[in-house]
Symmetry: D2
Subunit: 347 residues, 4 copies
């Protein structure tokens, strides 16, 4: 089968994925499932993988190279292991990015991303930028009728990362409260829609790109700001003293230390993007009584919930389609923000 | 001033309110406020008051008669006590129905309706079916600009009763889950809009009246049923085994014992209407692990939140306007369900 | 192996279990585990099974008879299926009573008892009143060092049923609030200890049996009542208007309709025992704004938590030991409340 | 009356409070109450006030000097304003440190410390290091019988700051989970007892002082560490990968950046002490999915709950008693940690 494989990490990103012919995956365990890839989303984490950000954590010596990237996959079941009961060949499915064990205590509490024995295909082992992809039964959700893999693939990671943060935020947001979303890209535009679907709060979208600003407006953000130097000041005025929740989808370039200044007394900042460093005086944390917390990829049930919102027409992924063979162009366009929403690869 | 006073309780409701000329209320305590009534909603509890349902609880000997009814009031501040700081004459306000003390432990936990020293004007003491109405500062919320008393008066009681139930329900409802609303009248149509604003669930509206069904459809209910004998069966089929939440705005006539049968394992029934009796085997409660709970009028902060949803255009009261002098006609139309939504009296 | 099998249902309970020699269970699926039984608790549900209460739900035609009863099992792993990774032969374990699938949505939300494909050994299929017992990997928790199966077996069902109710109660109970526990038997005495371990509330234990009253006192209940006709009145006086939570471990004989009268405004009654019928006016539910809800067996993570409390010495099972061959005597003693706490069978 | 007044701020703390004769406070508003001081606790915030840490926030020009310090007060009601109904002269009371308005939205949500019109006697206006002290009715809680002001005065601020953090922590801590408490002084020893009273978690106390270590052991901490350079490592080993909650009562001197390294994936750090600066990479927040949040003084209902725990004998204040005239010695002993627990001034 065709596959796009990474051969080297490079902080400068002067590397390209190689489109090659490789043997398709085969089932070795009773709970495994092979999926014919319908679409695979391109994620900022893919850029970070190529840059080597994850090298020390996942692939210290680079010994796992080369491998097929791609962790936002949807398609159709091609083959199932002997113990699989919930899906059968032909079923349209979306794949949660983590292959969790279902036995460890974190799994039992529903936190699949904290699974002690989890695997993350596309990062150190073969992912979905290919014709076929292998995962396990616990990762799969059947698509609602009339939903196609292409429409939802990036929900598998970008979508649930945004939805998880939005769900955590919604618990803190009453009607009349404000949520600031900084960065309206692949994640931010899903968080915005999710918030509108599950909370009665007001939303303030912040992005420097006109295309992203337009997307935020089209999606119904109550306020859209251009993220200029007076952004924090504008937000203080709109909100009368700060937002109850601020979501930072950037997490670097100084944005991370602007964001906590926008939080109202008693409020919360969610850090979803990464790369920078939070620096905050403890006296500010105490007097303002604010929380600063990271938010990771969502768990399985969050992907289920997001797919329900999608089926109900409440949350849709905005995407640009690329052929698998054009993956390096897609990566280049992504780096340079040449599309709004998400880039999706189709084999 | 003109006022509509109740002179007698009668289970058959063969009594009329008398429109009379009475002295306007005057301020006796530093926290009191006189409001020029802009509009006052007519509530099913008013019918129950006239019937004498509350007599034994609030007015055992009928010694408090006659009094002015009306507990869903909005208008403009006319006069304030010496200790009042948050409103001034001319401010447009809506009045929470309970005059709470702010000192007892229930008040400190925010549960104004459970106040140990609370007063409920319109039930045993003078309410708002009149030109002027007296309450205390803690009961008042300033209206957002461009909102008129007429548009929101019934939010003061019907609205927050519905919103409180919707808010409690929303905590139990994930996207993809179902909420059944039985009875789409003054409360039900607010609960429906509130749920859509603050939760991503699916809604099933049930009412025997075509006008109420139409209102539910217009407001965007996902399913609208006519409440025939197979309602529970229909709901089992739509939901695939029961709804996560069922709201009973009727609470009598056998409806209360149909509703808990519609609840899914692990789910909740909220009882908002009253008059009947729940009869349920304990083995059903245990195996199905369902909850059956009453829900009362909302507290002050819930009225604040509802007014924010209203200001944002997310929840609107549907009402029919009557002149104060036509109050007995309004009551008769209400008893016979001749209008959808709420009836509102204007002095 | 030896096993105690049920051959018939009888509402009068004039049947005995037969102690017989039967083939031991063998592994057929990759996730199965055979456990050498160390101890098996005797549960009130066992009495209800013999009475045929569950016949219509689980075994309509009695076609599953005869089978080995016993659903509160602990022991040592004897043999494991090919896919089992978390336990090995020799490990001391306690068995959650439900064999859950780990794939359905209820399992993914952590609610193992609501599993759509779950099995409950001891009720319609072979349980643990025997030398060996078969279940699946997902049901097993390794015991902490120095904990023996005999000390904890009834935790597997009685324990987590009580703990789950206590955990739900603890969320509603602030310091200074009151929890009433009606029935201090196998479940009640675990709920009492659990509450004291995880909540700062005050406890009021109610039981007619002097032995149970003594146990409650020894375990540190703040008040111990004898459940006479003025119990509700006594509780109103102690609590100054009702308890925030009332747990009913009886659920029949009229107790169920005494219990909701003891609940304070805004409070909760948990129904854990069953057999009777709740009858409550909707107006009481609404004005008092109380909740009445069933509570079922706890899920897997609740058993984990309870075993941690046990390892920390905070919750201990009080039990009377019987030889497996004396099971019919144990059942008779149980029916006649001849022991406090729980009866446990040892092969 | 006698009073200890501050005349100057000094970062080096080379100033003493002056013991002087001043006129006692008198009632000017209907909700005011004069309290005869029984005892007043000495708080680390008092040191920070003298240092001028709060000068820029509360008293920019030093124009409010001189004033009586002391914000942890308990005593007996001496005189009440015309509108006061819940206390009368002679009642023993403890005083919440914030005079809140009861009208603003933050008050209505129960968050007294976030009151928009709140006053904090002892910081910029006269406090309780004196014979008499004035506050308002909303700040007062009647003491349980047999509780004396001396035993509880520091509960008013140190106590509820610790209890609030413990209460927030308890929501995150299941049985078997770990909570680390760094700094077992006036706050830490209350948080430790509170946690044990309201949660089933395991506790790890960390302090460099042998007297504090002994106090932690006496109070039943599961582990007591001396806070050496390998503290984080020790905690990783005890907890098997990090604590679910870490409470930092120091908040400076580098401790604040050791603490977040002790937090387990998905866990929380509470910052209660202050003075330093948190510096944490966003990628750590995201991958570990941890929260870092400040925790302020508790609200009124938290003081109520703490007083109930105290009345039940579950949480006691350890203190050293000083005469009001010896306040400068008390301050010196405090700076040099010459007593464990809290210092208390008695007029």
């Amino acid at each position: 089968m065709r596959a796009a494989r990474l051969y080297d990490y490079d902080p400068e990103m002067n590397v390209e994925l190689k489109i090659e012919d490789v043997p398709p995956p085969t089932i070795n365990k009773p709970d495994e499932v092979v999926v014919k890839v319908g679409a695979a989303g391109l994620c900022r984490t893919d850029l970070h993988i190529i840059e080597g950000v994850w090298k020390d954590i996942m692939d210290v010596e680079g010994a796992l190279l080369p491998y097929i990237m791609g962790h936002e996959n949807a398609g159709w079941v091609e083959d199932v292991g002997s113990g699989v009961t919930s899906v059968k060949p032909g079923d349209a499915v979306i794949c949660h990015p983590h292959r969790s064990c279902g036995i460890c205590l974190n799994c039992r509490y529903g936190e699949d991303m904290h699974c002690e024995a989890g695997l993350f295909p596309g990062l150190g082992l073969d992912g979905g930028f290919a014709d076929y992809f292998i995962t396990n039964e616990r990762a799969l959700i059947k698509l609602n009728p009339n939903v196609t893999p292409l429409e939802v693939a990036p929900m598998a990671d970008a979508g649930i990362t945004a939805y998880r943060a939005a769900k955590r935020a919604a618990k803190l947001l009453r009607p009349g409260a404000y949520c600031v979303l900084v960065g309206i890209g692949g994640l931010g535009h899903i968080a915005l829609q999710s918030l509108q679907a599950i909370s009665g709060c007001r939303t303030i979208a912040v992005d420097r790109e006109p295309a992203a600003q337009k997307l935020a407006k089209d999606l119904g953000a109550d306020y859209v700001l251009d993220g200029g130097p007076d952004a924090a000041e504008q937000i203080m005025e709109i909100t009368g003293g700060g937002a109850q929740v601020v979501m930072d989808f950037v997490g670097e370039l100084g944005v991370e230390n602007e964001c906590w200044k926008m939080v109202r007394q008693g409020g919360q900042m969610f850090v979803i993007g990464y790369g920078g460093k939070i620096e905050v005086p403890t006296v500010h944390l105490v007097i303002q009584e604010i929380n600063i917390g990271g938010s990771l990829v969502g768990n399985f049930t969050e992907l289920v919930e997001l797919m329900e919102l999608n089926a109900d027409g409440k949350v849709k992924m905005h995407y640009s389609e690329y052929k698998l063979g054009d993956i390096n162009k897609a990566i280049d366009d992504f780096k340079n923000r040449r599309f709004a929403g998400r880039g999706v690869l189709v084999p």
